[in-house]
Structure formats: structure tokens, C-alpha cells
Amino acid sequence: MAAISLTGVSKTFTDGTVAIAGLTLEIGDGELLAVLGPSGCGKSTVLRIVAGLEVPTEGQVAIGDQVVTEVAPGARDLAIVFQDYALYPHLTVFDNMAFPLKAKRMKRRAIDQRVREVAALLGIEALLHRRPRALSGGERQRVAMGRAIVRSPSAFLMDEPLSNLDAKLRVQLRSEIRTLHRELGATFLYVTHDQTEALTIGDRVAVMRRGRLQQVDDPQQVYDFPANLFVAGFIGTPPMNLLLAPVEQEKGHQVARVGNWRFPLPEGVQASEIVVGIRPEHLGVPGFLHGYESSSAQEVTVLETETLGSVSLLHFPIEVRPVLLRDDASSSSFVVGDSPTVVIAAADAQARIAAGSRVAIAADVSRARFFDAQTGAAVGQRRPVSTTPCVKAL
């Protein structure tokens, strides 16, 4: 078992692609860290650098208290699970799982025993004599996990291990991986572009964009207190509404005003404009918005509704300028668009609001987040996550 730490790691490929820039990241001993980010942001490169398959251009990698930056992959005591599993088509499941043990020059009998033990743990004993191409996607995934587990490595590196599976199986295997992590007690580095997967599986989540680390926090904190506009816009489906609002004085306090909604700002805001971030579930129809500190409502015209069963997503325009995330190569992650902004509210489906109707929408202003309109960084104190539950157990 070992902690993994990256210090000031950068990777520039020979063709000039900067895959990672100045990454410092610590994965605690026995922790499951999920690395999350859009495709091409450098997640796989991080994993490959930890594995030793890529050598960083700059910086240092340590496993436990040993610096391994120059150590060969095979000497790092790690296991990898790839998205495509990379099982050997010419070998049976048994031989695939035994393959890493052969490198250790283990005795045949010891290999046999260990492979069967792990196969039993994963419930794949019946598949041992089959070839990979005779397996379903889920079975291949389990074999790949088994192949990683047999060596009892100190850390597991997983690169989108569930991305080739259908949604239902993904949910099931997600919880299996969590259980496995608990039972093995090993350090896991889990790379995914799927935010649900990252949030549900990770002890902590590291969010990346274009080779740079944006935030590392526990999943709830990442969701509740995004460190910047990129994280705010990336996490959550539908994402947080991001509105550029003027800063005004009201009764001696600074507020950001969006129509009738007034969001009280944290102390010390200097700017004349600020980005307000409010999640769809914190906007709603008064009377259906339970127990929130709601502001005064404002009348809007609903353009469109999407029914999700428990909630109904209402799309409506508001006369402020939107903040839009950019997906291109620019260094800035956002750009201010033209008014109006189409805001999304997740209203209780029981309110039964039809497209075209005019409704009053209230905002739970205490749940709004604020971001600097120039840098995109979060403004104001980030509350520590309360360890005491808000609702007391009966």
C-alpha cells in the first residue's frame, strides 16, 4: 500500500502537444482518487506517467516515500486496467490472469492457486478456460480487474475501465469497484470523463482541463463549491446557470442583481460585475421550493419544458448576459455572451407548468456561488463541509 504524489509534473510530447502542465497532486494511501475532465484534457497521460509508460518532461513522481520518476514501469508495483482491457486474444482467461505472475517467476502451483482465488473473488471461475473473444463486455472487464488483482499491487490505475459497457452494467460495476477498493484497501487512481462515475466512485475528485488541475476535493465539495467557472459549468446535468450580474449596494450590503433576484455577496467584492452561479435545482416555483431561503420571485415566460419524472426542466430567458464555457484551445475557459440568458430551473414536476406559460420563479439565494468575471475563480469563503447531517436521524 502506498500513497502516490506528483509534484510539478509537466508533459510536452515531441510534437509540441502540452498534455499536462504543472500538475501537483497527492493520492493518499488507500484512497480512491477519481480524475475527471473532458476528453483530451490529459487524464490518461497522468495515469501513464504514474505507471512509468510516459516520462514527464518536468517534475517528480513518488510512490510511497520512493521517487520513481526514472523507475521502469515493471518495478513500480502497480497494476493497470485499460478501457479496452488489452487482454491477450491468444491466451485463455486463466493464462491472461496468470500472465503477470509469470513475470514474477512464481511456481506453477502458487500461480494456479492465486488465479483461482481471485477468480472466485470476482465470480469468474466458470470462465477460466475461455478465450477473451468468447466473453461479454462485462466479463472481459472482470477478467481485466482480476488480472490486475492477482499481483496484489500497492496501487491500481484505471483508465476509463467502464466506458465500453452499457449504462446498466456500468452502474453495477461502479459499485463493485467501490466494494473491491474497500476490501483490498489499496490506492486507486481512477480516470474517467463521466462525472457521475467520478462523483459516485471517488473518495476525492480531481477535475482537469487542458492539462491543468482545476480542483481536488471530495465529491460533494466539488459539486457544492466549484473552484472556478470551468468546474461549475462542467459538473452537474444540467449544469449550473452562469449569469453576469451587476454589483449593487442595498441596505449597506453588496448584492448581485438578476432581475428581481438579489444575491447577497460575500464581504470584500471590489468589482462592478460578478458571475452568479445558481444550480437548476435551486430555482423553482414558490410553494414547491421547500424550506429554502428564497428571494422574491420574478415572472418569466417558459420557452420549453423537459420532463424528467420527479422534476421538470423549465427553460426561460432572463435579461442578463450569459457566461459560456469554451471548448476550444483558448487559455480562458469562458466567454461572456449576449443577453438574454436562457436559464434552466428544475421545478417540481407536480407544478405542471406548460411551455409558453408565464410563471413566477424564486431562487434559493443562499445556494448561489460567485465567480470573478475576469479570472473565473470562485469568490468568497468556501464553507467546510459540515460533518453533522442537516437532517437529524430519528
Binding site: 502497480l78 497494476a79 486474444p89
Partner: protein
């Protein structure tokens, strides 16, 4: 080559295209088989009936003794053994070294490797005649003329540009993650070649082995240039003695030629089996 090209090529889509390709295949097969049929028929005729006109495809009198006589008129088995002595080490050397070089080109990352590979590719375009004189001078300098060394040793030095190219392209179809997994698991570069790459590459390796065998077994020019002692002659050289000494014994010549051809036919048959087996094994199509 013709046969494999037909099997591997894309399927023609239209009905006319299919008919046309059928006609071409039949024409090709006839063109290949006709001389063979003539050889077979001639090898079974009495010498006096060989050039009867019109051609008698089925001899009026069968003379099976041609075969037993053919192998005693010249030291046939001696030449066959010599051919084996040259061919087997060449095939082994070619397969081993071209596999190793192709693996390096497919998987190693080193500065200068890419230009080097293009140099190898360029060597494919080079006609063999161009290198004939310089290599002869080189082997003469080494004192190898008159021995098998000039025929065998070069095969152990890379195994030929085309073979390297063919194997490299095949190795590239094996996902790199398979190597990387093995590396992380502690397997060495050589262990990965032996346990991961080669077991999945039998189709390509057997093609290289079979083509090399046939090439070297039938090689006339190489032995002609480098072999001086008749005792060392290989079959393609030895078969000429039916012409020189006995005023061309066509029936015996054809009987011996067919016998000499037999190993090539067997090799092709085996290679074809290995080829299809390999495809099934890896599940790649």
C-alpha cells in the same frame, strides 16, 4: 502470391465486376497450371514422344521409370540435401532476425528510428542486380566464394527489407496497450516479443517463412555465382546436368523438376493452414 491476393482482396461489389473477376481468376489459374500439366505429362512419357505434335496431354504410354532413373542419372539426393543445407538456415535466420528488427521498428521509440525505417523501405525498391557486384567483391574479400556462407549469412543480418516491412505492419495491428500492460506487470522487452507479439503473429511469420523457403529453394543465380565445386551444387544448378551431359533428357528433366518442386507445394499447403489458423486464433479479420 496470385492466390493469396485473390483471397485477401476486397470483394467486388457489382454482378459484372464479380463475373469479370471470375474470368480473370480462371484465366490466372489456367496460366499457372498449364505449364505444370505439361511438366507432369512430359515426365511420364518416353523421351521419343515428348515433342509429338499435336501435344499429347495424356501420354499414350506411361513411363513411371523416368522418376527412378532421373534421381540416379545425376546425384539428385546430394543436390537436394545441399539445397536443404542452404535453405533451412536461411529460413531460420530470416524469420528470427526480421522478426526482431520489425519488432524494434514497430515498438521502440528512439530518435532516428523513423528515417532508418524509410531507408529500409527504400531498399525494397532496390533491384537485386544492383547489389550483385559489390556483394560479390565483398564476399571474395572475405574468402567466402565457393562456400555456402554468401548464401546463408546475409539472411541472419535483418532478413530482408520486405520481410521487415511485412512483419512490422502486422505487429502494428496489435494494440500497444497489450505491450504496456505486460511492461507494467514486469515483463521484459524480449519477454513481450516472445509471449505477446509472436504468438499473435503466426500468420505473418509463416508467410515470411514460406516465401523465403520457396525463394531460396528455387534460387538459381546465387548458387551459380558463389558455388564453384559441383559437390556443393543445389538442386536448381544440379538440374541443368540433364541438359549438358545427356543432350537434354526432357522426360527425366521434368520428372526431377517436379520432385524438386514438391517441398514448395507442401510448404505452401502448410503455410496456408497456419495462415487461416492464425486468423481464427487472434479473432482479427
Amino acid at each position: 502470391m496470385t492466390a493469396s491476393a485473390v483471397v485477401l482482396g476486397p470483394r467486388p461489389s457489382g454482378r459484372w465486376a464479380r463475373r469479370l473477376s471470375a474470368v480473370i481468376i480462371v484465366a490466372g489459374v489456367v496460366a499457372v497450371l498449364l505449364p505444370l500439366a505439361w511438366m507432369l505429362s512430359t515426365s511420364l512419357k518416353p523421351e521419343s514422344q515428348v515433342f509429338r505434335s499435336p501435344i499429347e496431354w495424356i501420354p499414350s504410354t506411361f513411363r513411371v521409370e523416368n522418376y527412378s532413373e532421373a534421381v540416379t542419372l545425376i546425384p539428385f539426393w546430394r543436390y537436394a540435401l545441399n539445397s536443404l543445407i542452404v535453405t533451412v538456415p536461411v529460413v531460420i535466420g530470416t524469420v528470427l532476425t526480421s522478426t526482431a528488427v520489425a519488432y524494434a521498428f514497430a515498438r521502440m521509440r528512439a530518435p532516428g528510428l523513423r528515417p532508418l525505417f524509410f531507408l529500409v523501405i527504400a531498399a525494397i525498391m532496390l533491384p537485386a542486380e544492383v547489389t550483385l557486384v559489390p556483394s560479390f567483391l565483398l564476399f571474395k574479400e572475405l574468402g567466402w566464394v565457393g562456400t555456402y556462407s554468401p548464401l546463408i549469412v546475409p539472411a541472419w543480418l535483418g532478413g530482408g527489407a520486405f520481410n521487415i516491412f511485412l512483419l512490422r505492419q502486422y505487429f502494428l495491428t496489435i494494440p500497444r496497450e497489450q505491450d504496456e500492460l505486460a511492461r507494467v506487470e514486469g515483463h521484459s522487452f524480449l519477454s513481450i516479443l516472445l509471449r505477446v507479439i509472436i504468438p499473435q503473429s503466426w500468420p505473418a511469420i509463416s508467410v515470411v517463412a514460406a516465401l523465403t523457403f520457396v525463394d531460396v529453394w528455387n534460387d538459381f543465380l546465387g548458387p551459380l555465382i558463389y558455388l564453384t565445386d559441383q559437390k556443393l551444387y543445389t538442386l536448381p544448378l544440379g538440374l541443368n546436368f540433364y541438359k549438358d551431359i545427356y543432350n537434354t533428357q526432357w522426360a527425366h528433366f521434368m520428372a526431377a523438376s517436379l520432385l524438386a518442386l514438391l517441398p514448395c507445394i507442401v510448404i505452401f499447403f502448410l503455410a496456408q493452414r497456419a495462415f487461416t489458423q492464425g486468423v481464427v486464433l487472434t479473432g482479427r479479420r
